[in-house]
Symmetry: C2
Subunit: 426 residues, 2 copies
């Protein structure tokens, strides 16, 4: 392939006509394809259908004798803590089991810190004009929590090993109002990057001006490998304990993309002080999460081996979709010098970077051709991608053929927008 | 019976010896009876056991086509809104369905108001030194929310028709920092009182200094009748709309004491503005509550008739326990002039008032004899009953014979504490 930058104006004009025709061809098909959200496909949800009937109508007692139908169990059944301890690589005593949403645990953790501070805080965060570091591109719902509650966000570039640690170290060292950082450390949303050992170590030992700095470690894809070999991630809880910063990390996870996306079980793992603080707040907020759901999950998965085995079935469903995205991007965009993209080994997203200033136009073109993509900018704080380059591709929900078709459309849109940019048309 | 006040010192001393012997008799039995919390009995939970298996392993679609296993459904399945609309006497559009805990919805509503205010607020409540009115005796977990978040609580006496409205009207009219009132309007916790039409009307039309005053209407026992005839409660949403105060009431309810206490479905109903505000916050906090639980409830109960029919089965289980409490109190304490108690027609509690200054001692005596009661003072803000009189009796959890035995012990403790008080021993 020739890089498009090297084409003459006439060649570009010719190419543009071809692409426009191709684009109009897709448009005339009245497609309706939705690639916006990282939702599991029905065929993935089907893998756990037996969850629904596994608790028979007389079996409601957990191994510690708890009647899971009644009130209580503020921080989860002991055996559910054991299972999450294995998933999140933490001791069971460090685990707090929540409801069906790790996003909610994260949100509520931020809200509690705003109103009350965290262990080590001199005052509630809200009184300290708190700021969060946001590795970009990142997860829009993390950023939405900050924006909603008036927490200022500071972009930090993601590279192949995780966030740019030189920038992170400088920002946390220099400003005591920097209270947190959002991390999706394994198969990061959307880049697919797994943080390197070096990054985890620097995060754990970096001096912070704030005595109550917290790492929000959203390990959403901890067991979500696409291939048999998992990308290793260092244990942030251990690393921070070893550097004397045991209260720094808050680790989150859930079975949302293991069992049922809307009806899984979520949990947090952290230090004794953070866990005690969390329980103190929880005891005011609720009498406890749904323990029948916990028992269903325990009966169905049994243990971490059961979870890992189940994740292989997920991988078998979604790996072909990821590979189709890669193959089509390579075939259609490879060597043109107009785009780069990730080929993740796990997680839920592919991150596509266009030429500067083209992402919003690509999303608009795709939408006009019936392919809905996540809004351009969504992967950045305040919805603003300063380079207007990043597009998050979510290949899991639609059937394979739809993914393929949608990606063909997207690549035409990328080429069209790129040609226009190179021709100074836009 | 002779009123104990009329006994001579010698008669009191004799009675004390008898009572002490009786008390020691119970003590020697090493009882372990727990009457602390308003939890349903296993036999009540059994009534809904089929909830657990009613969703077969291939049926996950609600009537609007939603796959309940996947993400989404922020404010509940449309058909679940319809069911709660019937339970809470509100239009379906006014309903927001939550997770398994109405306490959590209430808590989160308070927290959002603290951080962001509510429709009509000039500023977040937190910046206005907010106060709440607390009809007493009342529900300890309501008061705990205020205490935890630094909201000052002001006691208002409960009478046979609800809170003392003259006091309420004066307090809300004179102080713009009075932002809310906690109400359990039907079969009130713990008095069993249902608010009269007059109280509901006065609550709906009273002028409030705060433009953003809210009634937290915890209708926890809306369908929880012990007898065929239900105590009528006027519709607070309608009453407030009629008086031009449609944003004033926030109505809460759940199926916790209908289906499974720890695995029910909770909801809120309110005005368009309050519902929109709630959804705006919810969309940041979570992707949505567990819809499989909602669908199970819908399949099991079907409609409000199904709910009401089910509640008759609950009543059949717990009515004998309530009647045993009444009978034993009447037999053992009647005519002695040392105690009064409620005989509720619904809800989960009996409220027992001792002579002034005796409640804490009664609870201590009972505990020493192996009968755990809710702490004295628990039904008041900050855990402080200014008269040290009120004890909340929760008869639902233990089997009938244990309730009877526990109440026998409690009446001996009440008499012992009363005799000591009258003899100026304590």
């Amino acid at each position: 392939m020739t890089e498009l930058q090297k084409l003459s104006p006439d060649e570009l004009a010719n190419l543009r006509s071809q692409l426009q025709a191709e684009y109009e061809g897709y448009k005339s098909r009245n497609l309706k394809l939705d690639m916006t959200r990282g939702k599991p496909a029905s065929s993935q949800l089907d893998l756990a259908n037996d969850l629904s009937v596994i608790l028979d109508a007389k079996d409601f007692t957990s191994t510690d004798g708890t009647d899971v139908r009644n009130y209580g169990g503020l921080d989860g059944l002991p055996e559910m803590k054991v299972l999450f301890a294995e998933i999140l690589s933490a001791p069971p005593k460090s685990v707090v089991v929540g409801g069906n949403s790790s996003l909610q645990i994260m949100h509520d953790t931020v809200v509690r810190a705003l109103l009350h501070g965290v262990p080590g805080s001199a005052a509630p965060w809200q009184t300290q004009k708190p700021k969060f570091l946001c590795p970009v591109p990142g997860y829009d719902r993390h950023f939405a929590i900050c924006q909603h509650h008036g927490i200022e966000m500071i972009n930090v570039e993601m590279n192949d090993e995780g966030p740019d640690m030189t920038a992170v170290e400088s920002l946390v060292a220099g400003d005591a109002s920097v209270k947190g950082i959002w991390c999706v450390p394994k198969y990061s949303n959307p880049t697919g990057v797994t943080y390197s050992d070096g990054v985890v170590q620097r995060l754990s030992r970096m001096p912070t001006a704030a005595p109550d700095f917290r790492i929000f470690w959203d390990n959403a894809y901890v067991v979500h490998d696409l291939y048999d070999t998992s990308s290793p991630l260092q244990n942030i809880l251990d690393a921070c304990r070893d550097t004397g910063n045991e209260n720094r990390p808050l680790v989150f996870g859930s079975t949302s993309k293991i069992s049922f996306a809307g009806a899984g079980v979520a949990a947090m793992a952290s230090s004794d002080a953070n866990v005690a603080d969390c329980k103190r707040h929880l005891s005011i907020q609720t009498i406890g999460p749904d323990k029948t759901s916990q028992l269903r999950h325990l009966r169905f998965f049994k243990d971490i081996a059961g979870i890992k085995n189940h994740m292989k079935k997920h991988a078998a469903v979604i790996r072909p979709k990821f590979e189709a995205v890669s193959a089509i991007f390579k075939e259609q965009l490879g060597g043109l010098g107009i785009a780069s993209w990730t080929t993740p080994r796990g997680g839920y997203f592919v991150s596509l970077d266009t030429l500067q200033g083209c992402a919003a136009r690509v999303v608009r073109l795709a939408e006009d051709a019936g392919v809905k993509l996540t809004s351009a900018g969504a992967t950045f704080p305040y919805g603003k991608d300063p380079s207007d380059r990043n597009i998050r591709i979510a290949p899991t929900l639609p059937p394979l053929q739809q993914v393929e078709l949608a990606m063909q459309v997207v690549t035409v849109c990328v080429k069209l927008a790129s040609v226009d940019k190179l021709s100074h048309r836009t």
